[in-house]
Assembly symmetry: C2
Homo-oligomer: 570 residues x 2
């Protein structure tokens, strides 16, 4: 079989104008970016406001492993198969980050014959949305430091006189706004800035990956440009020397940040290998960030298709939890069905059983032990009131015996059912049975429950997420988190939902604990206010909001060949 | 009169497909980016290889002042007027940087009725080239630090064993590659990175503005994608502990960097308010960087038009000198005429005479004293063998008497002649006489001289630039620069041309010295190897490669209005 980029390059894409037309978009509602990408106007949703929303399907997974479970493959394969089955279906996925593209994971276009194409355009710059987020974010950082510099240099009074602006009295030790870059940049996690005679004062700073920018969450959660502008205005960038918040509005930079992101607010339309429509919007990293695709893309797709398939990153404890408790809480657009992606390999790796046996070989003991992880995720999703279809992403080495056992075992759970998906190797044809079952599941949806109510206290939300979301028995807060909690409550931010940043490699906070951890204490190290996005980020355990490059990063393989074609993107 | 953005927004652009077609591009040679921008394929130059090159006109200026002389206004106005006069003319300008856009200067689309439109698309992201340069640049920075981290963590031997790569032994105190961001970011000029238990080692770093990235110069100077790839491979990123250079090729990151920049290599086609073609490519900052538009854009335009108008930033001692000694040396495409832009205000401000008189008021004394600056620039450009036309960019308050005196004074110089330009207020009609004179000047060109030969020594090149380029009588090198000079010579980099980074506000290195400085010593503080771009950057005086935001930055004015339209961009 060919590599992903070879399959993508050998494929002749349809003109994106044709995809748009088929989807029901009018020519003045799209803006072309090359032959294969188009920005889509937010006016579509208004034009079709009276049309009922499509059924929404959310694709999630068991606890992830280094082998990759194929969530995007399943999302795209399911979209292809739904359309093959005659159901007008549109996918909504997130723009890949260059961190994973040049790091370990690779791109996020799907794979094999279930891909969004051209994969290199999706995996690299797309239409520049992530760059716009980085730029707007870093303008705010520059604005804070410039203001601090000039106020420090002149003193508050002279500053006010010379500039005609009120002094903000930024506390250099309480600048909450970090910086971002869309790369895995370990050495920028903790830095000190402002050295040199005329560049100070020196203070701590650091970079997060752009997907973890609050602006990325704002892009995902905004309803329109006006909402984007208001959310940016509410961003709390720093505290003043009295400990009171300083917003982007007060700094006077909110308008310019919005202007930088004005194009990014339009989702990008691309196509699958079968010519099905796929919207790309907002960014990944549902472990350390909100990490779901945008409300705007969903809203547009909902008016154009009969089924919308979207995905939530990592296991259902991560992306799906945030999709539900943050995004659906905001949008009101609840899923009618979910797909939990699983592989035999993933269950074996999640069994917690150490073994020297090749994970590709049959191993009923590990498979059966690992099944508990799948059942946990089925139960986790079910408690939101969403029907669960288990998609078994088949690998060539999987034996019929193991697959059959797994299908039988799912029968005993709360799941609606399970089907094998061979979308990677066969494209649409490999997922028609799955598509049929998912469609039937959407007809059975009866209601959607949030895990907690907005008006419960922050402590109570953290406790609910820990206990019901991850199976912990208690929560501990670091001294820093305690003082942040009391500041947040005092400043009336207690009604915001919580966005947990934790390892995705375990249901708990410890990546080494496999299986179904119970009875543990969830350690919360930091609470970050995201007043614009509208949530409190809780950092748990050793999690970091900036990845690092490994010892043999993916960029080593990437180059152009003698024909000027890109090679080595995975 | 309306503001620039109002004029731009009230104007109905032609479809860019129409502009491209008029220019002689075939449909498969362009790639649309919205309705008003298109990337243009490098294949055009090959298709039209047999066609003679257009006459090239380079627009430069007197020593700049805070009032703005209108170099881009003149470049665009001249292009508009040339076409009105029936000469098929194309402009080639640089993509604006967000630093000035949100800092003090504002955008770089021209102004008034001599603008490239839509100005907000030009001034903000364009087609993402600057973002691509930032991203490729910062991937290399991440790659160096990741390699340093892993080699330090494991030791050279264990690193080699575990990774299968040879240890590079990067010296953390000799990392030459800084980082970039496209904002004015004073606090990032000098930073320390790598704090935290698992992020080190701690070492110095810093950010330049993206336009000053060596990759931006490479983008401007490359002939094609293959050349880009080879230049990136040659980048010297750091020294090892033996003091020997480590290249991007050796680090294995050159291919990925090229892939990130693969789309950026195509220039972007836009249009003037009169519907004339304008290529946008590469970045500004001819003070601290090479800062000229690209050889690729010039080469394509040269095959499509009869006249190509391009501009070089700041006074002729800066952008024009680099255009000549770096870009033309590389491309062989020499200008047939030059335009030196001047205003009455600029000459008065360059007179060196302190005065309380409003600079907009008539002041023959200061005008006459300041004239020497214009004459210096006329002589400076003339020594390259290029005919000089003086374009007097007229402001409403300018009196006929002063303008008449200036025109007469130019008659006594080596200039071909002078004409008043009113392109700002009148568009094409305001510059037809200027266009006519410039066209006539192009017919008189007899040859082009470089200021120095490549095979002369680095010391000799520095001396020539100091004496002939700026009127200095001697050069001094800091201890750092001395040791760099000896390293560069030893490592066979002596044959590269020199790119001086100095203040543009004086012909000398001291922004406070107005008029025609002579007899001074030019202090060179640092020599930076740009092995990929193919030059040595010489930092002179107090120059910095990262600007800062002022006390009332331009971003304060920028916002969206209730209709979602951008306001306040200047």
């Amino acid at each position: 079989m060919h590599s992903d980029i070879e399959i993508s390059r050998q494929h002749t894409c349809l003109p994106i104008t044709e995809i748009a037309n088929e989807l029901g978009l009018q020519p003045d509602e799209i803006s072309l970016c090359g032959a294969s990408k188009a920005k889509v106007s937010l006016s579509v949703a208004k034009r079709l406001a009276d049309r009922p929303n499509a059924k929404l399907v959310i694709v999630t997974a068991v606890t992830p492993t280094p082998f990759g479970e194929g969530k995007t493959v399943t999302t795209i394969g399911l979209t292809q198969a739904m359309n093959l089955n005659g159901i007008k279906t549109c996918a909504c996925i997130r723009q890949p980050s260059l961190g994973p593209v040049f790091g370990t994971k690779g791109g996020a276009a799907g794979g094999g014959y279930a891909q969004v194409v051209p994969m290199e355009e999706l995996n690299l710059h797309l239409t520049g949305d992530i760059h716009a987020v980085s730029s707007a974010h870093n303008l705010a950082a520059a604005a804070i430091d410039a203001r601090l510099f000039h106020e420090t240099r002149l003193g508050a009074e002279a500053f006010a006189q010379e500039s005609g602006l009120s002094a903000l009295n930024i506390d250099p030790d309480n600048i909450l706004w970090r910086r971002v870059v869309d790369h895995n940049e370990r050495s920028l996690r903790q830095i000190k800035v402002g050295y040199g005679a005329v560049n100070g004062p020196v203070h701590d700073s650091g970079f997060d990956i752009t997907a973890a920018s609050e602006l990325m969450a704002i892009l995902a959660l905004s309803q329109d440009l006006k909402d984007l502008r208001q959310r940016i205005g509410r961003l709390v960038l720093a505290l003043n020397t009295q400990g009171e918040p300083i917003t982007a509005e007060e700094l006077g930079v909110a308008g310019a940040m919005t202007v930088i992101m004005a194009d990014a607010i339009e989702p990008t339309l691309m196509q699958t290998l079968s010519g099905d429509p796929c919207f790309i919007h907002a960014g990944p990293f549902a472990n350390i960030a909100h990490g779901n695709s945008s409300i705007i893309a969903d809203t547009i797709a909902a008016k154009l298709a009969d089924v919308v398939v979207t995905e939530a990153g990592f296991g259902s404890d991560m992306g799906f939890e945030k999709f539900s408790n943050i995004k659906v809480r905001e949008s009101g657009y609840a899923p009618s069905a979910s797909v939990v992606v699983v592989t035999l390999k993933a269950l074996k790796a999640n069994s917690g059983i150490e073994s020297n046996k090749d994970i590709n070989q049959p191993d009923m003991e590990r498979l059966q032990a690992g099944f508990a992880n799948l059942e946990w995720h089925i139960n986790n999703v079910s408690q939101y009131g969403v029907p669960v279809v288990v998609a078994i992403n088949r690998f060539p080495s999987d034996t019929d015996e193991e697959l059959e056992w797994l299908k039988q075992a799912v029968e005993q759970t709360k799941a609606f059912g399970s089907e094998i998906s061979e979308a990677f190797g066969k494209g649409a044809e490999g997922a028609t049975k799955l598509a049929d079952m998912v469609y039937r599941a959407t007809q059975t949806a009866s209601g959607f429950n949030l895990l907690y109510q907005s008006d419960s206290s922050l402590e109570s939300k953290l406790m609910t997420l820990a206990e019901v979301g991850y199976g912990a028995s208690s929560v501990s807060l670091s001294e820093k988190a305690k003082s942040q909690l009391s500041w947040l409550t005092k400043h009336d931010y207690g009604e915001l939902p919580v966005c947990v940043a934790k390892t995705p490699m375990s249901i708990s906070h410890d990546p080494n604990i496999k299986g179904i951890p119970t009875g543990f204490e969830l350690p919360i190290t930091e609470l970050r206010l995201n007043a614009g996005a509208g949530f409190i980020t809780a950092l748990v355990g050793q999690v970091m909001t900036m990845p690092g490059l490994g010892i043999r990063p993916g960029y080593l393989n990437v180059d152009i060949n003698d024909d000027g074609e890109i090679i080595g993107l995975a």
